[in-house]
């Protein structure tokens, strides 16, 4: 049992609170190039995700887990395809709850 390295649920607005820390978020992929993957967060912010992408093609929605680089970018350790449909509103509200009064369930 090890809870020493959790990944905090963040959206675009919450990312700035965890710069330098391990975070997780779901983005909708806008474009992907050598500079990284540009995506839209569940609260409509534009985020850039750097780091070696997986060999398989990315679906529309991707979960990234990694270290928050800045208030707009993440250095990904892990990418998971979340498919082409995803309820961003639910996820967004989860991020707010997980950082609000139910924080103790997560970190």
């Amino acid at each position: 049992m090890d809870t020493s390295n959790p990944a905090v649920f963040v959206n675009g607005a919450l990312l700035r609170m965890y710069v330098g820390r391990r975070v997780r978020t779901v983005i909708q992929v806008i474009q992907s190039d050598s500079g990284g993957v540009t995506g839209k967060s569940t609260d409509d912010h534009q985020l850039v995700v750097k780091g070696s992408q997986p060999t398989i093609p990315l679906t529309n929605f991707v979960e990234v887990i990694g270290i928050a680089d800045s208030d707009r970018s993440i250095r990904a350790e892990m990418w998971t395809n979340f498919g082409n449909t995803f309820d961003t509103n639910n996820y967004n509200q989860l991020c707010q709850l997980a950082n609000g009064e139910y924080k103790h369930l997560f970190i």
């Binding site: 049992m1 809870t3 020493s4 959790p6 979340f82 995803f86 639910n90 509200q93 989860l94 369930l105």
Partner: protein
Amino acid sequence: MFSSSQFDANSAFSGGGFMPHQSQPADSNPSPARSRDSLGLVPLTVKLISEASQSGDEKSNFVVNGSEVTNVTLVGMVFGKEERASDVTFTLDDGTGRVLCKRWASEVFDTKEMEAVQDGMYVRLNGHLKSFQGKKQLVAFSVRPVTSFDEVTFHFIDCIYFQSQKSKLQVQGSSIHQPQLVDSSLHTPVQTGSNNYQTAPSNHLSSQFGIDGLKDCDQLILDYLQQPSSSERERGVHIDELSQQLKIPKKKIMDSIASLENEGLIYSTIDEFHYKFARG
């Protein structure tokens, strides 16, 4: 018939309704761990499991935030899967922590299901919480790959919901507005104020509040009156509407209304048929 001696109280009253000192009425405020015995699968995060304490009895149950827990459900990513002759072990990482899991390869069903599980995959895991050599472990009886990732979001919201329902039990009777997770309106009612976990005064409300979400009439009415659509109305809600919307007979509504009004949780407005939730 009654002897003049006062020392005969026990025998004198033993036939009557009042039983002096020996037989107290059953504990009206049951300890949380016993009263809300968790049935079914409790949705948890690894973080919550790490904070679980072991309840004293031989069944080696765990107590998470005041309720007994044995069967749990988690969603997370599989790592370090190792297959052996008798079992399969792996680590489950749900973003809040990592926990060791074991699946006994007792039936063909078990082995076949575990074959489909690979490292890096998101799975829904159902199992028992166990302690082995002082460390908490999960003994899984069901491990299913996640196919629709809304399940990931759902699981964590489920964890939050479960915890919020428990605290709702504890604060029943006070007029604290609970976070409305079902509300699908645009704004998120996030409660950032302090959470007052007051223990309810003894035998305050007859909480027939089961884990499967059954609520007593009082709570249903309070919930309805707290919705923005109800609280915004100056005149409040008519008891006919409560009866129709909650599908509860009017007589029962009126009984609950009387009791809630007595406790100061609601008040009547233009007449004795219209009620509003009393904000604290």
